[in-house]
Amino acid sequence: MILAMAEPTTTYYMILAAVLFGIGATGLLVRRNPLIMFMCVELMLNAVNLTFVALSNRFGNIDGQTAVFFVMVVAAAEVVVGLGIVISILRRRPGATADDLAELKG
């Protein structure tokens, strides 16, 4: 078991995070459902969290974890507000996707 031998270094975690971040970004560009777009943002935030934790572990410095704590708060708040806005919109025009909201342009 080569896998058993090797220790995953911080770099591994960061690379994973980077990939996760990228996927999130890609998702935001391809999905039309606003809710799923939010989820993609969540993915990106999680990537950030992972990076923070990995680094904090590497440095032996708790700041990173504290940062994650705040990120979670922010994420929660964002979702709440975002969903609030989405609700108020979809109330008026049910089933609207991001593409449908394009009155303002030019």
Partner: protein
């Protein structure tokens, strides 16, 4: 009297202002008399000045009267100053003298014209400018007068401006003159650069003392000659003069025969030391231009039917004579001919005016004839003028023309030959004119109705006020020769070369000395030859037009003035105008187009870029993403890894 020479221009100026203010109130004929009086006054002053100078020793006859500093800028100091010396006073005498007579004539001639007073306004302004021109102590004052007379002639030619031909003629005269002025101005600049002044004293002094490089002197002389060519209607700029006949006849007499057109000759004489200091080819050029113009114009005059056109071309031709003289170094002769010409040509113009007046504004000689019966005074005086210009002994023209030919022969036989031919032609076409107008059968009867003359039409003699000047001028035209009699046996010593002695201090530098040439020894013979030519011309004309011995030789080409004028105007109206239009097009399309195009371009770009702003949030995210990638590329690859 010398220190008040400023009165000479001052009087016409006063007249101008008075008429400007009260002209309408004065009306006819008071305005006319006012104007005439003013000119008479300055004539009187001139005479007074003349005697003052006369009382002086010959070489002190040079007085500068400075009024005020005109254009003073550091090294350039130009005064409004007048120069009283033999030349300027001689000019003043005949300008104001002849001017006065023509004013009188005009009072009669312009009778009934709605713009009577305005006419005299212009005339006084003209006399003012002309006196400034001749009295100027420096080139700039002269130029002031120079342009002034040009402007006045513009006013007067287009005096009847509702006639398109008149308006056009006036414009043409002004612009053509401007071409000459260009040379005049450059001459002034060059002069200032060379000697730091434009006053005649300094310029000529430098020329005499040799302080002036020959090349510079040549350039100045020739540039001034360009100006002279414009003003004195020489080839190639003579075009405006024949058209100038659109003006009232007194104007033609005063401006386009007696005074203004001779300004060129005056200028060259004034600057004769410069010409002397110039390279030899300079005077030669002048002489040839003069000679060719003389011949050229004479040939044209042969085939003209407009009574004034004939005189106009003959004026051009006679001016050519004067330049021939100038070029030959015969400044005295030039001035002499200028004066005599002023007499007889003014006389004939006024005569023609009287005829036109009598013929109810008819100018076509083919519709005249036999007028000697109806207007005896006009006719007889005109005949005096005719004999004078034809150069018949002892009329004034004979003396002046003879002297010019003498110098021309010394200069070059070719020039002399041209001079003779011109003399023949002159005699010929003048005789032709006299016959057509005053003799032969009366053709005007058949044309009666054309003159809108109700009932039976009859040309009439002009009023005395018009005839008086004719008579006086006739006298002068006959006796004018005495001011410069040659040294012939019969002529008393005391009477010989009066004018030459008078002008001597001014022209000593430039005057050619011919006393020891072969031509001078045989000048008696030359006189004979000249007279012979005159009679030949007269005889031929009589044979053809009176006796009808032969068909008139009046080829179309001559009637059309060798098509020169038409060619030039064709060029101006054709290619010239096209070129101008091209520039206007370039400005509108290219230059302005570029400016407006830039504006369009910016807006167009905006219109394109704004297509990116689709309004779709995912596209926006994409654009942001691209931005991210680019930034990362710069930082990570650009600054980091690589």
């Amino acid at each position: 009297m010398l220190d008040v020479i400023w009165l000479i221009p001052a009087f016409p100026l006063a007249g101008f202002i008075l008429i400007l203010l009260f002209g309408r109130k004065l009306g006819e004929p008071k305005a006319g008399f006012l104007a005439a009086t003013m000119v008479l006054a300055s004539f009187v002053v001139s005479v007074g000045t003349y005697f003052d100078l006369l009382s002086m020793d010959a070489h002190d006859r040079h007085h500068v009267e400075t009024l005020f500093s005109w254009v003073p800028v550091s090294s350039l100091q130009i005064n409004m100053a007048f120069l009283a010396d033999p030349l300027s006073i001689a000019m003043c005498l005949f300008v104001t003298g002849v001017g006065f007579l023509i004013h009188l004539f005009a009072i009669g001639y312009m009778h009934g014209d709605p713009k009577f007073s305005k006419f005299f306004l212009y005339l006084n302004l003209f006399v003012l400018s002309m006196t400034l021109l001749v009295l100027g102590e420096n080139l700039l004052v002269t130029f002031l007068g120079w342009e002034g007379v040009g402007t006045c002639s513009y006013f007067l030619i287009s005096f009847w401006h509702t006639r398109d031909s008149a308006a056009t003629a006036g414009k043409k005269a002004f612009i053509t003159n401007r071409i000459g002025d260009w040379g005049f101005m450059l001459a002034m600049f060059l002069g200032f650069e060379a000697v730091g002044s434009v006053s005649y004293g300094t310029l000529n002094g430098a020329a005499e003392s040799g302080a002036l490089a020959q090349s510079t002197a040549t350039a100045i002389a020739l540039l001034l000659f360009v100006g002279a060519v414009g003003k004195s209607a020489q080839l190639p700029l003579y075009l405006w003069l024949p058209d100038a006949m659109e003006g009232p006849t007194p104007v033609s007499a005063l401006i386009h025969a007696a005074t203004m057109v001779t300004a060129g000759v005056f200028l060259m004489t004034r600057m004769n030391p410069m010409l002397a200091a110039a390279s030899d080819y300079a005077p030669t050029i002048i002489a040839w231009v003069g000679a060719i113009t003389a011949l050229f114009a004479a040939t044209i005059a042969v085939a003209q039917n407009d009574i004034k056109k004939v005189l106009a071309y003959s004026t051009v031709s006679q001016l050519g004579y004067m330049f021939l003289a100038v070029g030959s170094g015969a400044y005295v002769a030039a001035i002499f001919h200028m004066v005599t010409h002023a007499f007889f040509k003014a006389l004939m113009f006024l005569g023609s005016g009287s005829v036109i007046h009598g013929m109810h504004e008819e100018q076509d000689m083919r519709k005249m004839g036999k007028l000697i019966k109806l207007m005896p005074v006009t006719a007889s005086t005109f005949i005096v003028g005719w004999l004078a210009i034809a150069g018949v002994f002892p009329f004034s023209g004979f003396w002046s023309k003879d002297e010019i030919l003498l110098f021309a022969l010394v200069k070059s036989p070719a020039l002399y030959a041209i001079g003779l031919v011109t003399a023949v032609l002159t005699a010929f076409y003048m005789t032709r004119q006299v016959i057509m107008v005053f003799f032969g059968e009366a053709k005007w009867e058949s044309h009666a109705e054309e003159h809108g003359a109700h009932g039976e039409f009859k040309p009439h003699e002009s009023p005395p006020i018009m005839l008086f000047p004719l008579v006086v001028l006739a006298g002068l035209a006959f006796a004018g020769g005495i001011i410069q009699l040659p040294s012939f046996g019969i002529v008393p010593e005391a009477w010989r070369h009066k004018l030459e002695q008078w002008l001597e201090p001014v022209i000593e530098a430039g005057e050619a000395h011919i006393t020891d040439t072969g031509a001078y020894d045989n000048k008696a013979w030359l006189a004979v030859v000249a007279s012979a030519c005159a009679f030949a011309g007269i005889g031929a004309a009589i044979a053809i037009y009176a006796k009808h011995k032969a068909k008139p030789i009046e080829p179309k080409i001559l009637a059309d003035a060798w098509k020169y004028d038409s060619t030039v105007s064709a060029f101006m109206g054709g290619p010239g105008r096209k070129a101008f239009d091209a520039v206007a097009w370039f400005d509108k399309t290219i230059v302005d187009g570029a400016v407006n195009g830039t504006g369009k371009l910016v807006q167009g770009t905006g219109g394109q870029i704004r297509k990116l702003q689709t309004g779709n949030v995912r596209n926006y995210a994409g654009i942001v993403g691209v931005g991210v990638v680019l930034l990362l590329t710069w930082f990570v690859l650009g600054r980091g890894v690589l």
